[in-house]
Subunit: 340 residues, 2 copies
Amino acid sequence: MSTATVTAREVHLVRRPQGMPVADDFAIVDRALPEPGDGEVLVANRSFSVDPYMRGRMNDVKSYVPPYALDAPMDGRAVGEVVASNAEGFAEGDLVLANLAWRTHGVAHARTLQKVPDVEGVEPSAYLGVLGAPGLTAWVGLLDIASFVEGDAVFVSGAAGAVGSLVGQLAKLKGASRVIGSAGTAAKTAWLTDELGFDVALNYKDGPIREQLRDAAPDGIDVYFDNVGGDHLEAAIEVANDYARVANCGAIAHYNDTDDDRTPGPDNLFQIVKKRLRLQGFIVTDSLSRFPAFLEEVTPWVAEGRVKHSETVVEGIDQAVEAFRGLLRGENTGKMVVTV
Amino acid sequence: MSTATVTAREVHLVRRPQGMPVADDFAIVDRALPEPGDGEVLVANRSFSVDPYMRGRMNDVKSYVPPYALDAPMDGRAVGEVVASNAEGFAEGDLVLANLAWRTHGVAHARTLQKVPDVEGVEPSAYLGVLGAPGLTAWVGLLDIASFVEGDAVFVSGAAGAVGSLVGQLAKLKGASRVIGSAGTAAKTAWLTDELGFDVALNYKDGPIREQLRDAAPDGIDVYFDNVGGDHLEAAIEVANDYARVANCGAIAHYNDTDDDRTPGPDNLFQIVKKRLRLQGFIVTDSLSRFPAFLEEVTPWVAEGRVKHSETVVEGIDQAVEAFRGLLRGENTGKMVVTV
């Protein structure tokens, strides 16, 4: 196997962001890639994922995944095409999933790659979103963490995101009595109710979410899937029924907090006692053993169009930082993807 | 059966307190009791319990128990002696547990009474505290709710109270790697370490609990038993290890909150996600089926002195309101009891 040298364009983290990341925290670097070694594969990305959890990895703090190194491209899921293989089982032209985000090309060991399943009606980039880690997050969070059962009333924040949009649809398919979502634009709330079948969608910019949710959930909620934290968590606790469960999945309201500027927490946590609530944080990487069961259930729903999903596509590696900033500002509907 | 008329002195709630209850929220009322009807018993109290949960019942809001009625004595656990019985199985002189707090005498149906077990080394009033609902609360919260396992490091707030003091001792007896308690006076913290065997006791009035706990728990905590809420919950979340569990039992910091004056909540709840924490509220009345197993395990420990307990005794029905105010201010060590 031999190939001409490939020059990859990569986005490197060069400085730890303070609050919202800015362009100067990153650098665009062109780098000649080595030829793939034994067992390795050279991949040309088609698209890669930018996700909220990446903000945490940009900080130099102990967390569930190591922080991103400075002066290196950042890991994350990508769909690409094999352009040169030095590994058994992978051939030029294969579509693969790899941890090669924030770059145009990368070299990876075959054991870090999966072939993209070829399922009629499912496009490859679905495996970055609805059938990837965000999809598994929604499924595990709703079923395993929040112990959803038929008849539950469900509230999900960040409902127009990759995770939240699936949470609401899964709840509807599994017999929720009511599904309420929150999002930050009228276009998103319209998408939730008109396309995805949510019963109610709240635009949190229209007024205090606490008051809006009280009106939207006259019979309370049994499950809250939290992607936001802060005022949304407070609102959910306020309307929660006895024995309600909260899956704490994300806290996008807090991701840009600094030591000097922290988003206040809910002031009604004593209701956890009164109502016997259960709040449980989770990280999808703890539940990778559930991937097969998840794919078995959800893949047909995606293929048949019973589960809908949306991508917000930003074109070009040079726009990756702006795509990520947009994600943190809530500018995406569904999965935020950068095409290469 | 016949008896001379008995006049009971009762403490009635006559106004819903705003914030800390004041004397004028209550009235002392002398009332001639009817003779016990069929199946009823007349009880002369020896002592009764005042508990933090009673503050919630003084508000006219939906909660896990109905609010106290105005112009009537308040329910709560009491130990008394049968002075007249019109019920099979109860005779003059029997010591009984009844829901007849805040009064000197009361008439109750036999089905609401239990005889005080006669166990050597266990005084009757123990059944108001360490072997009563507070004891069951500690046991259920630590074992069932917080899923304590041997080797866990445990933090308990309100540690010198009836519940907290047992939580720490149970954790030690069951092999905790470290037990840390917090309380509000030097006498209490000395009692926790010198008498009860806590590894560390923090006086939260000595400085921010967040900083004190960080120093006291260099290897983090696995279980937090929360009686306080507010800054204590925030501190516990800050030092919690991955997969730590919180039993949310009480929130005494919040009990006197009003709509206009609310204690701020923790500002670090996003760590619930990062650390995969589980917070679960509970009410002991949901776990009454666990009473026999609890008594079987803990009664011998109390009788043998391996579990120690303390009572703060206030004498006289006329002092009951002041005893309750003292409880909310943290003036008790162990169980707060009013003797009649």
